[in-house]
Symmetry: C2
Subunit: 155 residues, 2 copies
Amino acid sequence: MKTLIASLLGAAVLSASLTAQAQLDPEDQIKLRKAGYSFMAWNMGKIKAMAVDGTVEYDQQQILAAANTINAIAQSGMGALFGPGTDQDVGDQTTRVEPALFDNFPEVAELSRDLVAASNNLVEQAENGDQGDVRSAFAQVGRACSSCHDKYRKD
Amino acid sequence: MKTLIASLLGAAVLSASLTAQAQLDPEDQIKLRKAGYSFMAWNMGKIKAMAVDGTVEYDQQQILAAANTINAIAQSGMGALFGPGTDQDVGDQTTRVEPALFDNFPEVAELSRDLVAASNNLVEQAENGDQGDVRSAFAQVGRACSSCHDKYRKD
């Protein structure tokens, strides 16, 4: 385990953590938030392939595992990874964040809560297992992602 | 969402996925497995700070959120990210994986199951909330991490 990450003040939800004093340096914060979003995107891609595109055979356990991962990461306190100095590229880490995000934490927290709600529903539908319901819940999560990306992520 | 990740054949547990045909290229597989492990390590660090070192105030909801994240990632089918061609650096992605891992998938799957079991217990103890029990469960997860790192990760 890396000692550099040992002392972070995490928070369970973005709204509680946006103002938290992270003890990670800005470069590590950017690295870790990109890691979290990439890992969520990978799991979104798996659900899309199985439940939407049909390019991979539908497997309820794999859908549920992916949904649980998205849901857990969404609630992992990633707001702590948007600390001071992370509004631009730092060291080896590039970022596509729009600097405007840092002036609009209350709205970002609201968008984050939307993602948590949508991913809670995705887990519920994945547990129930109906493919149509999973597809709808997946689309809802996708809209939650996009609503933040459209405003606060550069192309 | 990135189209490159849309068609991956995921799997719920490492044992089921080590032989899966990933449709991601090797560079993306390495990037995503590093993302997953980094994100787990960040969450391990938060629990350590709160439950072991005491450098951050103990918060049961944050401990549980971190435990859920570790547990979900551990079960997200990361075996699919150790496909052919990922045993060495590819493109911009460096890897510390020991090539021997690719000759020992059954043992790696067993180590992965140990991690899942340990992180299941961590979630359970985080739900119960007793700090001593969380500390023990955290140590068990740490041992599961190390048992794989010692054999299959370069320093």
